[in-house]
Symmetry: C2
Subunit: 348 residues, 2 copies
């Protein structure tokens, strides 16, 4: 089987497959008992990301259980600031923590020089997955988008309104642009190296794109994403890229028209008929089931899945969630979802 026979890649080249391929954001995660068992073998979350045999194992678990059409590298978007020399750690139950950047001096002290050495275990995980994955399964590499990564680097943790990071960008846009430029360059290098280690598709996660007015969203989210796509394509024109500017709302259309990526991952709030008309005519769409429907299951899950398939399934679609699966999701609901998607026929 050549890469172009894989369903996810065929779809990203613009073909409409019936049924569409399916994978789920954060499909390797705490909702799976086998994940929790492997997780317990690692010292902490970063150790899990940086231990290739464990990271390969958790990446494979959802493929074994559900036969998803793609496996995504098990890692975290914050391995990049870690590789740039910022202190990053994960507190049990409290999420990620970073020693926050305070001023231009802190930005200048970031050191992209040792990037690939520090990220070597990630590349090793990708090579391991390349050996272990079923031949029909596409291997997805990923990184955080510059704004989302910058927001963690400045806030030091997740935040409700990102006041510190946003006010920095408003008050000193040139300084903030230096940080974004460093992240554009190092993220591009990181993604290119992931391709060279075996990633066949790349996804860029901008989880917090939805906090900006239009002009700032273009400057800090859309333009950096487009530049990363350009750099990756200059090195590897054949590798499809999926962007996930979560919360971009109306500006999803600008991402479809201007970013140069093959795929656009839609968050839960994107209306389906609008997406068919304005997005799917230009790019391959991915999404966008509410992950909480995998907690409830039942009729609501079935109706939500149907609506997506009926509206977007007649064009190039990758079935996915609108955000990562939650720890409260039930494995049997995921099974119900996969069976429904795999059994779908248009108008049936």
């Amino acid at each position: 089987m050549t890469p172009t026979d894989k369903k996810l890649i065929q779809t990203l080249k613009g073909e409409t497959l019936t049924p569409p391929p399916i994978w789920l954001m954060r499909q390797a995660g705490r909702y799976l008992p086998e994940y929790r068992a492997t997780r317990a073998q690692a010292k902490d979350f970063l150790d899990l990301c940086f231990t290739p045999e464990l990271a390969v194992e958790v990446s494979l678990q959802p493929i074994r259980r559900y036969g998803f059409d793609a496996a995504i590298l098990f890692s975290d978007i914050l391995v990049l600031p870690h590789a740039l020399g910022q202190r990053v750690w994960f507190e049990e139950g409290a999420g990620p923590r970073l020693e926050p950047l305070r001023d231009a001096g802190d930005i200048a002290r970031l050191s992209p020089g040792g990037l690939h050495d520090k990220l070597a275990p990630v590349y090793e995980t990708l090579r391991g997955l390349g050996r272990e994955l079923p031949q029909e399964t596409t291997l997805i590499g990923f990184a955080g988008a510059p704004w989302t990564v910058a927001s963690y680097m400045i806030e030091g943790q997740t935040s409700r309104d990102f006041a510190t990071a946003k006010t920095w960008a408003y008050r000193a846009p040139e300084e903030f642009a230096q940080l974004i430029d460093i992240l554009v360059a190092s993220t591009s290098d990181y993604l290119i190296a992931q391709v060279e280690a075996g990633a066949e598709v790349l996804q860029l996660f901008d989880s917090w794109a939805g906090v900006w007015p239009e002009a700032a969203l273009r400057r800090w989210c859309l333009e950096p994403a487009a530049e990363i796509v350009r750099r990756v394509k200059a090195a590897h024109p054949e590798v499809p890229v999926i962007l996930f500017p979560r919360g971009a709302g109306l500006l999803y259309e600008a991402f479809a028209a201007e970013a140069g990526a093959e795929g656009l991952s839609l968050d839960t709030t994107v209306p389906l008929a609008w997406a068919r008309k304005w997005l799917q005519s230009r790019v391959v769409v991915q999404g966008n089931l509410d992950p909480l429907l995998l907690v409830t299951g039942g009729a609501a899950l079935e109706a939500g899945v149907s609506k997506i398939l009926e509206t977007l399934g007649t064009g190039p679609l990758i079935f996915n969630l609108g955000h990562g699966i939650t720890p409260q999701a039930l494995p049997e609901h995921v099974e119900q979802l996969v069976a429904q998607v795999r059994g779908w026929q248009p108008g049936a």
Copy 2:
């Protein structure tokens, strides 16, 4: 001066005023030293809301300082669950807390009967403001929208993903609809009573509208808002209503077309040119400066204000923020903002 000579009301009747009227969401708040001084006289936050002389005083403070075109009743959206018999309290620095609703029995035990007795101090505040406000200042009453209020009633506090409230709605939509129906009825009664106590314009805040897929947003946010508008207009057809479905994204258009309200308050992310074309052609728009620009001030604030005025100022516009002002805002930046709006001439 008759009510129809007031700038906010003229604008809500569809006139384009140059410069546009201005007020700010949460304009009576912690960024003002005089607010903090009055706040210190109250036992706690609910006591401040329920002590008419103090609530009148803090509502008037931003009018005295900046001469805004409207004063909004000082209160909180959670006085309604309190009036329905749910236990509500505010922990210093931690935000609101409620004894959460757990099941259908808890919903059935809510008691709309004593509503107006418990909310009498709010009506008293409105009457006090009616006496004290400058004659050119419009008096705005408000309530929380059913979904946002329900989310607090179920989660017991603010939440990141509203998993408990959303899964309730997905799992048992008939039960959840009972809660929404109670809130539609009591919110309508509450707003009608506010008008009878002197409110000249009403705003309905749906702060968490942005977490739903389209079908659910229509069912739990748009339809209840439209029903409240119908009930209020049946009693007081002359009173303009402004809806604030924060985060509704593309569905702002459905609110403009279907909800029956005169005004639509835009959050920060709504693109201005789109709003001019698709919203301002149907309703009066209000918004949508990023409140963090009142923290930074300077060139970014000036540019943000200009963009809104140039794009939306040639049609019916109420200048406002895209979300409430933050405690970190500087009073002198608010002064700069008001001066810029008041001094604006189109194309100057």
